[in-house]
Symmetry: C2
Subunit: 520 residues, 2 copies
């Protein structure tokens, strides 16, 4: 049996094996093209996540593995967000993974909100089973008080702040932490909803209500700026209704984005906590006037859910479309050659381009692997969302040109080699604006003002998207609309004019429209 | 009552309150100077960690809070280490926090090593107690299989690699993860030994034994370079004896550093895993020749323990001494003034210096707070280890000079303002080398070659430090020496000549000296 033959049989075996074990998911992985968004949006999303090497399900229920390529996008996000936090005066710190059960209970709404979906540590040791069957939990190593794997860290942090704060001089405290958290979700989806996820959680403490409110809004602005300027994803800033508020907050502000299937996605939240956690943990300070009062708090977070938003906001049926500012590889150079001599000439040009672009801080990869064809590479980098692809062939070398293809519009154009670096800098900016504009126009098309409940349902079931409607301000109406249409109030938008109208459901008076949508 | 009076009484009250509640720890916190290393090294360490705002114990047993200043040093470490990993071809990824109990059991030594100290998640929900006493674990939400909070991730990762690796084309896999891990230590110390700690864990997979061994050694070199060039801490590279080997490894390589109390500290480890985890998780690949074999593995890690090493390697009785390359603030400017006019002139000079130094990437802080005296600030930045302090007073303004004080030698010198930036660049380099040299000389002084067991015990009980002695290579001898002297074999050093001798304990022949020490 020849080498090629044995490899062939091995692949055949691997193929059957994967079919047997993984059923339909792997069949489509082996097919060349992605499912179409228009045919099965949900499957399209799952397949992009898998095939662009972003993430996969782990053997632990609801927990994901973030693969190297996916993680490198998350690292780019982290770096920008972290920079923005530091520019607004925040520092990072780290607080324990575990929350004692009694802490969670100190704020009534908070425990109500998180107790039903948490991982509980009850023991601290395993031992060999008496019957030799393996290791079992050692019943003698039971914790006196159970520990909850943090679903969020308000309780642990406010318990710490209690010792950090005595007087107004200790305020404000502007701290952020990058961490993993666990919420025992029953239905999970990669990036969008997982039992464990990565996030940042800011927790600040202030001497006055006004300062805490300003901080809450400032951080919402930071999130909106990040979403729009880096993710190229337009967002609506607004306030959540009572039923969607963070457990323990006085007000929850959010940014809401629209995905290509017309569903909304909450991309970040910033909470004004009032004095709720200060009261729960008895955190008081002496003011400049000597008076003792409870401290005012905020908390705010974005998570790996942003990865899901990024994927769904821009990508197409060929794969990921990444905004240049968050693309781990911004430019890829693919050589097209037959002889070693040709590759050598191409490499010389590629090296020049690489050197110049790298000095401008542009990340560029030269893929000269001889194990894959140029066509395979084109498809691969399309799938992975690399914003610009440069192809250089022998004819280009003769002419002193290169061909550049844009991932967003798929347009190709030929440039003089001498002008290529300037062109690339310009194109990267253009792609960044273009995909923002595209997402913005899409959202405009899918935003509908309605004045009756029939119009409301028609808009939702028709094109979907954001439906701007009057609401009477009651939880009852909100719940009925949700039960009947699956649409929720995404937020009460912050930047809108007052407008008198009548609730589409109850007919009661309303002073402004709120944003309804079906949501992730 | 005047404002100042009421503040005074408030402080008095706060003082008594803290005394009542926190007993001796807070009394010493209020005292001006640190405990002396020579009098109580252990207390000195704890006090530096607390008073330089590095970390503190949390309310959760064994878990620490890393405070903003401490975390900013850790961030500097992370950034350099991460850069070095990427330069050697590694990428980051993220794997689940939880390890199913059955996974831990798949590698026999591994489970033996970690089962006795792990946090076990048994339930996924709390509920309200029937008697209204609060929340309790919901017995109906018991997991079918318990989950272990990862003490290290070999098992979860090799279970994932199984799906990533089919052929030699999929190798090598060079992945690192930055994560938190939990080992239920009974005796904890901030940074040095905590139940939860932060670390990075690299996990690589290779087609050949040689490649995996080379990777193991490469990463040890990366750690040694980081320790020496950034932490300014000399280390011995070596191999662990069988009894100190990582559970599941074929060989464990380590870097060992010496602390100022003469005790050794293991600062990083790199493990050659052979095919152990590949066999435990059935990870095989088809080679170029079509033959199927188990994959070869490595894993390697450093943790927030490095913070403890950094503190203990250089700091003195005035506080932290930080190597400039890891100092979050490299230079602080303290103005000395009486009038606003004076402050204004000083600020002008400070701004010039700041602008120039920042453009060289030097981090510099101008502390113009009027709530603290210059003397207080001097002590504070000494405590926090800021490498250079610039003082500028009215006389300096007149003379066109500034005074620069070095943290390491406490030398002060006056410089012309025009020459100050060059001077600072030079001084930062000099401090970096000086504290390395100091630590190197200290280690040389505390390294003793001994040829008899009496000499061995004398060296240990006398000056302590590293004791280089012949050993017969048996676990029995190692254990007896440990039981009798509390000294362990830190490593079999890599860079040493062969030397025939006789074991100090058994008298049996030996081919080289090993490094003994009492250790953290």
């Amino acid at each position: 049996m020849q080498k090629t033959d044995s490899l062939f049989y091995l692949y055949l075996l691997a193929y059957y094996f994967s079919e047997l074990n993984k059923k339909h998911t792997n069949i489509s992985q082996m097919a060349k093209s992605l499912p179409k968004r228009s045919e099965d949006y949900s499957l399209w999303y799952n397949e992009i996540v898998k095939r662009a090497d972003l993430a996969e399900h782990s053997a632990v229920r609801g927990c994901m593995v973030i693969k190297p390529y996916g993680y490198s996008i998350w690292e780019k996000m982290q770096a920008e967000i972290d920079r923005m936090f530091k520019e607004t005066g925040h520092t990072n710190a780290y607080f324990p993974l575990f929350v004692p059960k009694s802490y969670l209970s100190k704020e009534a709404d908070h425990v109500e909100g998180f107790a039903k979906e948490c991982a509980v540590v009850t023991h601290y040791r395993l031992k060999n089973a008496d019957d030799g069957s393996g290791v079992v939990v050692d019943p003698e190593a039971k914790l006196e008080e159970e520990l909850i794997v943090r679903p969020t860290s308000e309780t642990v942090i406010w318990n710490t702040y209690k010792n950090w704060i005595q007087s107004y001089r200790d305020l404000p405290i502007l701290v952020n932490q990058w961490a993993n958290v666990v919420r025992w979700e029953m239905r999970t989806r990669l990036f969008l909803r997982t039992a464990e996820f990565l996030w940042q959680e800011g927790h600040t403490a202030h001497a006055t209500k006004g300062e805490a409110e300003a901080e809450t809004k400032q951080m919402l602005d930071v999130y909106a700026e990040f979403a729009e300027c880096f993710m190229a994803m337009p967002v609506i800033k607004g306030v959540k209704t009572e039923s969607e508020r963070f457990p323990g907050a006085v007000d929850t502000y959010c940014i809401e984005a629209l995905m290509q299937d017309g569903k909304a996605l909450q991309a970040g939240t910033s909470h004004f906590l009032g004095q709720n956690f200060a009261k729960a943990f008895d955190v008081r300070f002496a003011g400049m006037d000597g008076k003792v009062d409870y401290v005012w708090g905020t908390s705010w977070g974005v998570s790996t859910r942003l990865m899901g938003a990024l994927i769904m906001a821009h990508s197409d049926d060929q794969g990921l479309v990444l905004p240049p500012k968050l693309a781990p590889i911004q430019v890829v150079i693919v050589p097209i050659y037959k002889t070693d001599e040709q590759l050598k000439s191409i490499r010389k040009v590629a090296d020049q381009i690489r050197t110049e672009l790298r000095s401008s801080g542009i990340s560029i990869k030269f893929d000269d692997r001889d194990t894959q064809s140029p066509g395979w590479k084109f498809a691969e980098y399309e799938l992975k969302g690399v914003p610009l692809r440069i192809a250089i062939g022998p004819r280009d070398i003769e002419n002193g040109t290169v061909e550049i293809a844009r991932r967003d519009t798929k347009e190709k154009a030929t440039y003089q080699t001498s002008a290529v670096c300037d062109a690339i800098r310009g194109l990267l900016d253009e792609i960044q604006s273009n995909i923002y504009r595209k997402a913005f126009d899409f959202r405009s098309d899918l935003t509908t003002k309605v004045n009756t409940y029939d119009e409301f349902k028609e808009a939702l079931d028709g094109k979907g998207g954001f439906v701007m409607a009057h609401w009477d301000g009651t939880v009852e109406t909100e719940e009925k609309i949700k039960a009947e249409t699956k649409a929720t109030i995404r937020c009460i938008p912050m930047d809108q004019e007052e407008e008198n109208g009548h609730c589409i459901y109850s007919g009661k008076p309303s002073k402004g429209r709120v944003v309804f949508a079906r949501a992730y």
